[in-house]
Amino acid sequence: MATPVSDPKLRPLSTLALDLLRLPAALPIWQGRVDAARWLAAAHAVAESSGRLISVWGVDRSAAGGGMVACAAYGVLEGLVWLELLVGQTAAYPDLSGVFACAGRMQRATADLSGLRADGQSDTRAWLSHGLWAAGAPLQSGTLPVGSLPGTLPADYPFVRVEGDGVHEIAVGPVHAGIIEPGHFRFSVVGEKVLRLEKHLGYTHKGIERRFTELAPLDAYRLAGRVSGDSTVAFAWAYCMALESAWQCDIPQRAVWLRALMLERERVANHLGDLGALGNDAALGFGLAQFSRLREDWQRLSGEALGHRFMMDCVVPGGVAIDPTPDLLLRLTQQCDAIEGEVRTLRTVYDEHAGLQDRFLTTGRVSPELAAQLGLTGLAGRASAQAFDLRCDQVWPPYDQLEVKMATQRDGDVAARVAVRFDETLESLRLLRRLCAGAPAGAIRVDMMAPGVPSVGIGWVEGWRGEVQVALEISAANHIVRCHCHDPSWQNWPALEHAVMGNIVPDFPLINKSFNLSYSGHDL
């Protein structure tokens, strides 16, 4: 399947004499197997070279005669490195959370879902499981997971207690006071000041990764597109990229350009929505009215030109589902011009509004040092000087022809995350005009054939929130063995807990919105 390479540029890992294979993919992605010692050594090498941990997950290959493996995906200068470690009877692998703080919750989830433990991890509380699944780890093959009996109540979650004079707790959720997703927040406060925030997530866990194994590879893109509805294009593209890599299928150039067009439209839609909501959370209702109007205009034209207001099911294996006519492409371009004028006007309003800036500046700050330590990623990371953007770092088609300008800030506060959203919106509008004008002619889809041998692939896409990753394994009999979806919210939820420390409780909604993380994408 994969062709071996000895890429001299892969510096941090080359010193470990790892046997890496480059997978056939649009982005530089390597895969390799390590032993326990090299598993840890590789993590240290990546950390020392300023690389980042993207995701940790477990795979059970025992149905096909394999074993249980722990997997880790790292983002390094040269691309993505996917390492796997065969775990023995103990079902344990060396803990990574000492090297990458963000590994902690991903490892706890791996224990819940795949039954693999991180050996040496101090926090062994269940994370995604609330004690309501009757039979063991749901992703182990051979298990037929069922829910617990009616009337069973969720297990108590042992929150970390903060004690001291005048400290009290505020418990919020899982049902939230707004039109948002469910989760539980536990604030420990003195007066109005937040000493500590601890989250308990997993409420929207609906068994997505188990569900993948019941779907045909050519149909499962629809499920990927519903991992997190606001990132449907990013996840569908990442899934299709993984499948096309696994089955070694080249897709038409026009389809690649249209996928990028949809991804950038998704980015703009979400940024417009957030910019309005952020104004509203700082008591400028005008901002919400204006930006929600723009967002509605935007989604209506998406629906008209691409067939769905959120472009769900528009990215399909082998290409895209719809080819907008030249007339519609022209209207998409004209809309970019119109929206750009409006966004520039509204940015001036936001920038010059003293009351708004008073709420935005210095609120919910994550310093660049802390951001690096926690692995803060995506949009929020770029607002804290973590300058990673796949569209600039690993230029895959068509971004290799677009010269994306990365938006970064150093202050790491709400104002910085607002500024990154404004900059990225304007940059995406520029990209969209080029994508509309420059999309090459030709087919929009090719038929895909299952190769009839076991295959693997990874999709890696810079969604509006940050990097989205889908790791896919398909058996010779054309069944999905494992499909792991990773949302950047995994990295950023813990960082939000830090961002809110020392702020006042009433600023929490504003800080939370400035990150706007996904519950569904995290809980799966």
């Binding site: 309501l132 997971p145 006071a177 707004g178 469910p182 409420y203 606001d230 109007r293």
Partner: protein, 176 residues
């Protein structure tokens, strides 16, 4: 400040026909608004509960608040507690982890209460179905008055679902 006023003035009153909205749409919005006012004659308080959705439906429910649909302008409010609500607007396949929370939210809502299940998942479990982690459709967990299919249903369909739930209740009361 002058820029805010200029921006507001430039786009006019919220309920004016915006650019590129077809007359058909406009008429439908007006008709539904009129129907709501006639049936309700007062405010309707809605509690939105995400019982495990992918957040797509939440985006469309939020869109009901934008100037085009202007749901708040009609006295329909989203409230922060089920104890203040006349109606629960429930999305998602109900995850096993939200089952108890949804039941408690339902119990906390004063009678007479209405439940509208929004989206394909709320109607029949959608692509997630029923599993160890998902209880499937909302009606598997609490009584449902009206379902609104769609993935996600556009704002106008959600508004129509809200209206038909209220109308059903009004007709049932009249026929009693």
């Amino acid at each position: 400040m002058w820029q805010i006023l200029r921006q507001v003035a430039r786009h006019g009153i919220l309920t004016e026909p915006p650019p590129r909205i077809e007359e058909v749409d406009r008429a439908r919005i007006d008709r539904i608004h009129a129907g709501l006012l006639e049936i309700l004659g007062q405010a309707l308080a809605i509690r939105a509960v995400d019982a495990g959705s992918c957040n797509g439906c939440e985006l469309e429910i939020q869109a009901l608040g934008n100037p085009y649909y202007n749901i708040e302008g009609l006295g329909i409010r989203f409230v922060a507690s089920p104890r203040h609500a006349d109606m629960l607007l429930v999305t998602g396949p109900v995850s096993r982890h939200m089952e108890e929370a949804l039941k408690r939210t339902y119990d906390a809502t004063p009678d007479p209460k209405l439940v509208v299940a929004v989206g394909d998942c709320g109607c029949d479990g959608g692509i997630f179905g029923e599993s160890y982690a998902s209880c499937g459709r909302v009606a598997n967990v609490i009584p449902v008055d009206v379902v609104v299919p769609g993935c996600p249903p556009p704002p106008m369909d959600i508004l129509r679902g809200i209206l038909s739930a209220v109308r059903q209740r009004a007709q049932a009361r009249a026929g009693r």
